[in-house]
Symmetry: C2
Subunit: 95 residues, 2 copies
DNA sequence: ATAAAGTAGTTTATTTTATAAACCTAATTA
DNA sequence: TAATTAGGTTTATAAAATAAACTACTTTAT
């Protein structure tokens, strides 16, 4: 392939947005990510699971007072994958 | 949305590779695109159709001697869409 | 001349993905 | 106490990507 493969886990608008967000803020909760990305809760829930299963983010579910709270944080593996994705896609963008 | 939407037609590894290719060479045939992208013929056929239906490329099917030949060329609309896509995705890549 | 293999694709079927809609549990407000 | 809101998850549906099978013809070997 003349074009490097793009990590399918990151080549998704919502998951890429989530990663982009997490990289800049280091930690964010479900509601904040939902607001910033404009995603529906259901979709976000599913995509966070996928990123988590891939080991790209750590998800922490706990209670804050009486309310459930889910916070997310990018892992080193996630950071590496993101950087690699950026390098790969740059190849497609500048001919 | 804090993140600009990514044109779904271009946010596909193969279609993006095809566009990237066509932009640099201005015109290419089916076999060449297949080789350069590493795509299977079936997949490429489908994706070229989509790009063509969207008006992003012009597809010309003719005979060269006794063999069928399909050549593709990016349109102005395709060029515009590609440039717009590049701008949008840059937003995701550098936090 | 004819069978086998190659070229240039298209069509159909399957799998994966993305997304929305419905649902759940608990807390708050009217 | 009944409705609404918050913070999600699960299930169902629609859309996409991909591979496999097929078509139609050409070239090569026998």
């Amino acid at each position: 392939m003349a074009f490097k493969a793009l990590d399918p886990l990151l080549h998704s608008q919502l998951r890429l947005a989530v990663m982009s967000l997490l990289i800049s803020v280091e930690s964010a909760d479900f509601v904040y990510i939902k607001e910033q990305t404009g995603a529906t809760a259901g979709n976000l829930s599913v995509q966070l699971d996928k990123l988590s299963t891939a080991g790209y983010i750590d998800v922490n579910k706990h209670f804050e007072g009486k309310k459930p709270k889910t916070t997310c944080k990018v892992t080193q593996a996630g950071l590496d994958a993101f950087e690699s994705y950026v390098k790969s896609i740059q190849q497609y963008l500048k001919p």
